[in-house]
């Protein structure tokens, strides 16, 4: 007997979009971009651990 595989639980749904003029970004993409900008700023301002020796 052949059974069909179960449907995946995580079916992609509309993630929501932000419109600003011609700019059209999905919310997940905005989260990634903001995270990258935050990481970039932190990399510039957070002091690097110094060698204790």
């Amino acid at each position: 007997m052949v059974t069909s595989p179960p449907l995946p639980l995580a079916i992609p749904l509309d993630a929501g979009f932000v419109h600003w003029g011609f700019v059209n970004l999905s919310v997940p993409n905005i989260i990634v971009i903001v995270t990258m900008i935050v990481l970039f700023v932190l990399a510039l301002v957070v002091p690097f651990p110094k060698d204790q020796a």
Binding site: V32, M36, L39, A43, L44, V46, K50
Partner: protein, 227 residues
């Protein structure tokens, strides 16, 4: 003539020439340096090697997916897991590569004879984008069907024709697992060699250490080494 060169320690065989060329490509001790200028002790210098580490994981997970095959990555838990690892290491690769790009752009890292280093980085980025896009096309799900049918008309309008047909699954698989990864590896390899040859770019206004200045004047390089 040959005897004279051999007496001078310069063997003329092609293999000896290759060895000499490789040994002169990067200054001695710079292939795997254990010292760096003090300004390298900054988080902004971490993202290049983070991108490189991500690329290694992308390749490893990609090889596992290639061995497992389509059915495996769709129907088994382990296949799902490796497929997700491949996706997220690619996400991490692009995030770290772009932050690396921002950091190098704001410090104008093409200074000091590093133009080719910058250019190989640009091409690494562009070929990586092509590799990622062809990855979307070979997922074998509704997402890849949607993307390929949306992309075909735009690509056909460029006149690329059958040389890059996004509806040709077999061609896209080979672009994604062979041709484009080869391009990425060549570009990243050249980029790393050039970084090792010229040294990391100093921040704008930073004074290179005294021995760097003297070595730069002597060799035309700007490798930048301090105690």
């Amino acid at each position: 003539m040959s005897a004279v060169r051999e007496e001078a320690g310069e063997e003329r065989s092609w293999s000896a020439s290759v060895v000499r060329w490789v040994s002169r490509l990067v200054p001695r001790g710079q292939w795997l340096p254990d010292r760096q200028p003090s300004y390298v002790a900054s988080w902004i210098y971490v993202f290049g090697v983070a991108a490189l580490a991500s690329l290694v994981l992308v390749i490893v997970t990609g090889v596992v997916l290639t061995v497992g095959g389509v059915t495996w990555w769709h129907d088994s838990s382990l296949g799902h897991f490796v497929n997700s690892l491949h996706l997220w290491t690619v996400e991490f690769l692009f995030a770290t590569m772009v932050i690396h790009l921002w950091g190098k752009f704001v410090m104008a890292s093409w200074r000091g004879g590093r133009g080719m280093t910058w250019l190989t980085g640009v091409f690494s980025f562009l070929v990586s984008i092509g590799t990622a896009f062809t990855g979307y096309l070979i997922q074998t799900n509704f997402d890849s069907q949607w993307i390929s049918t949306q992309a075909k008309d735009g690509l056909n309008s460029t006149g690329v024709g059958a040389a890059f047909n996004v509806m040709n699954f077999g061609q896209m698989v080979l672009y994604h697992v062979a041709l484009l990864p080869l391009g990425v590896l060549v570009m990243v390899g050249l980029h790393i060699v050039l970084v090792r040859r010229h040294g990391v770019a100093p921040p704008i206004g930073a004074q290179p250490p005294a021995d760097v200045v003297s070595e730069t004047a002597a060799s035309g390089s700007t490798k930048g080494e301090v105690a």
